[in-house]
Amino acid sequence: MFSIIVDWLQAALRWAAPLIVVSFGEVFAERSGVINMGIEGIMLFGALVGVAASYYLDSLLLAVLLTILVGAVLGLAVAYLTVSRRANQVVTGLMINMVSLGATDMIFAMMSETRQNRATTFPTIFPASMHDIPVIGPLFFSQPVSTWIAFILPFIAAYILYKTRWGLNVRAVGDNPKASATAGLSVIGIKYQTVILSGIFACLGGCVLSLAEVGYFSAGGMAAGRGFIVMAACVVGGWDPVRTALICLIFGAADSAQLRIQTVSSTIPYQFLQMLPYVVTIVALTIMVKHSLVPKTWGAAYDPKDV
């Protein structure tokens, strides 16, 4: 029983890692007033690009760099539509998701080699001998490097958001774009920066999803709603990077719990266990939301000519 719990916690950290990486960017985008709903689709691209680059180019560094590039391009597309063209953010995100779902399936169909062969995954940073230390060995030292980075990111994000000038600007733009513009900030510019950032980290999160452990891409929506779960985590976490990461950890725990319970118990049909992360998300949204924390222009378009 004890080993199952350790196993579960280890998987919880691993499953939470992609969510936390994605939330890093999304928190900034939403703080600046733009909900990037396309992160679900961008994650798919990240997962695919990661696997493809790792397999064909045989370099994790190139995989990460390519992922960043693709994420930036997709983030730019979302930023152009939602910020410059002031298109509806829900619509933009959903259509980006739809394009990504189709496009990743199409590209994956052309890369038959990656179906059978596993791509190189992120390595662990600690020597194998340390993996056997009871409890903390499997929990921490056996984690791939991506998990470690994921758990440092929220603190960096919190520092940027609360302690740097740029972070202050982001918050100002989200809460009062008109005053920010009057004070001489480029509202449009900052929104572009945050949305592109959210694209990059959504893509990286997808890469972590496919390259942290499995090394495969799977067609038909591998992200399985995780982008939307991250959006929920931002709301529940009150757009605070560290709290959002904690919520992501809870969702990751739900995700890994369903896999663990499936292996030990056959009394509950596995389909009901698979529902768990989604149900947990809805429940969390229902009971843990504080409306007072919403960025003031959350989801609204900014028109510089509006007085």
Partner: protein, 378 residues
């Protein structure tokens, strides 16, 4: 009064504006088709041959057209469900989930031979389908209206739950599931619960015609009934709606449940008319496609008819295209989504009008703030 008057002028663009917005939409679709053509070329097929195959597959014969109509059925119904939400400022995008629940509901009474004649058995299936979906839709409706939970995330999460629920029902729930089948599926529907085929040799059922009829009915409801007026008022100006005595929360729940009922009905039509069983994932992507249909139509029920038929033609033709030229079958959804991205990319004017209304409303007092949070993003 002033506020509602203002919203009226905003919601009824001048004739010139309408022409511009129609032209923009066409331009967007054209750009989407060109961009998709480039993708087709990259994937190694000749885009002209591919689009030729698409056209033939959509309009080449009576059977092609009947195929388009069959594919239009879920798009028409899904589109009208989403459009109702858009009119009232809600994103009811869980159509996929409602369709699954509707299919389960229909199968609960549909797979058994109850000894009923068709004209009782079919409506009974529809009734169960709608009841199941209504309960499902009431969850996000209640959470949105009374707990302020964002309906986009909530409906999408519920769609995933619905998919797994269906998966369980058709693979492990003995009365309904076909145990030991090669693929998770329900038992075959009783003959008396199947929708009649309208054209010999095709799979054309009544679904698309019911869909068109419903679009017309909802056009009437939206424009000529108090319910429709309240719905539109809530969408265009929640404050005016509040002062006009509309119970925003109740109206939200009603709209969500109504959309869900339509979705459930649509799911029942799919399984009773086309598939004859409930398969594990008998619809995919319908959630996104319904949003695309409703958007292209600008939330207008009559427009839904046109855009649903257009997208259905793309999908039916796309299937032929992928068979004849080897282009991946995912190209369908890529074309639809790219068209929509270009349409929203070139169509800025309308978005700006809608946004201004929201901005005005933000200056109001606390009661309206509360409504605003309940309304969420626009």
């Amino acid at each position: 009064m002033n506020a509602s008057g203002k919203s009226k002028t905003i919601r009824l663009p001048l004739l010139g504006d309408m022409a511009v917005s129609f032209g923009r939409t066409l331009l967007g679709i054209l750009m989407g088709l060109v961009a998709s053509g480039i993708l087709i070329a990259i994937s190694g097929a000749n885009p002209f041959t591919a689009y030729g195959a698409l056209l033939r597959g959509a309009l080449g014969s009576r059977y092609a057209i009947s195929n388009v109509l069959v594919r239009a059925s879920p798009l028409l119904l899904g589109g009208i469900g989403v459009a109702l939400g858009i009119k009232s400022g809600l994103w009811n995008i869980g159509m996929e989930g409602y369709m699954y629940l509707g299919a389960i509901g229909a199968s609960v009474v549909g797979v058994f031979d109850l000894g009923l004649p068709s004209f009782i058995h079919i409506p009974l299936c529809f009734l169960f389908a709608m009841a199941f979906a209504a309960v499902w839709g009431a969850i996000p409706g209640y959470l949105k209206a009374y707990r302020g939970v964002n309906e986009v995330t909530c409906t999408i999460m519920l769609s995933y739950v619905a998919i797994y629920l269906t998966n369980w029902v058709v693979s492990a729930f003995p009365p309904i599931a076909e145990i030991g089948a090669f693929y998770p599926m329900s038992k075959k529907f009783a003959d008396s619960a199947l929708l009649p085929i309208l054209m010999r040799g095709s799979s054309l059922h009544a679904g698309p015609f019911i869909g068109v009829l419903l679009c017309l009915i909802f056009y009437f409801i939206l424009n000529y009934t108090p319910f429709g007026y309240q719905t539109k008022l809530l969408g265009s100006n929640p404050h005016a709606a509040h002062y006009a005595g509309v119970d925003a929360r109740k109206q939200m729940v009603k709209i969500m449940v109504l959309g869900a009922i339509i979705g459930g009905f649509s799911g029942a039509i799919e399984v009773m008319g086309l598939n004859r069983r409930v398969y594990m994932d008998f619809v995919t992507n319908v959630g996104y496609e319904s949003v695309a249909v409703a958007l292209l139509a600008g939330g207008n029920p009559i427009g839904v008819i046109a855009s649903a038929l257009f997208f259905a033609a793309l999908k039916a033709g796309g299937a032929t295209m992928s068979i004849e030229t080897g282009v991946s079958s995912s190209m369908n959804s890529i074309i639809i989504a790219l068209c929509m991205l270009f349409v929203i990319g070139v169509g800025v004017a309308d978005g700006r009008r809608q946004q201004k209304i929201v901005d005005n409303s933000k200056d109001d007092e606390s009661e309206s703030k509360e409504l605003e949070t309940a309304k969420g993003e626009v």
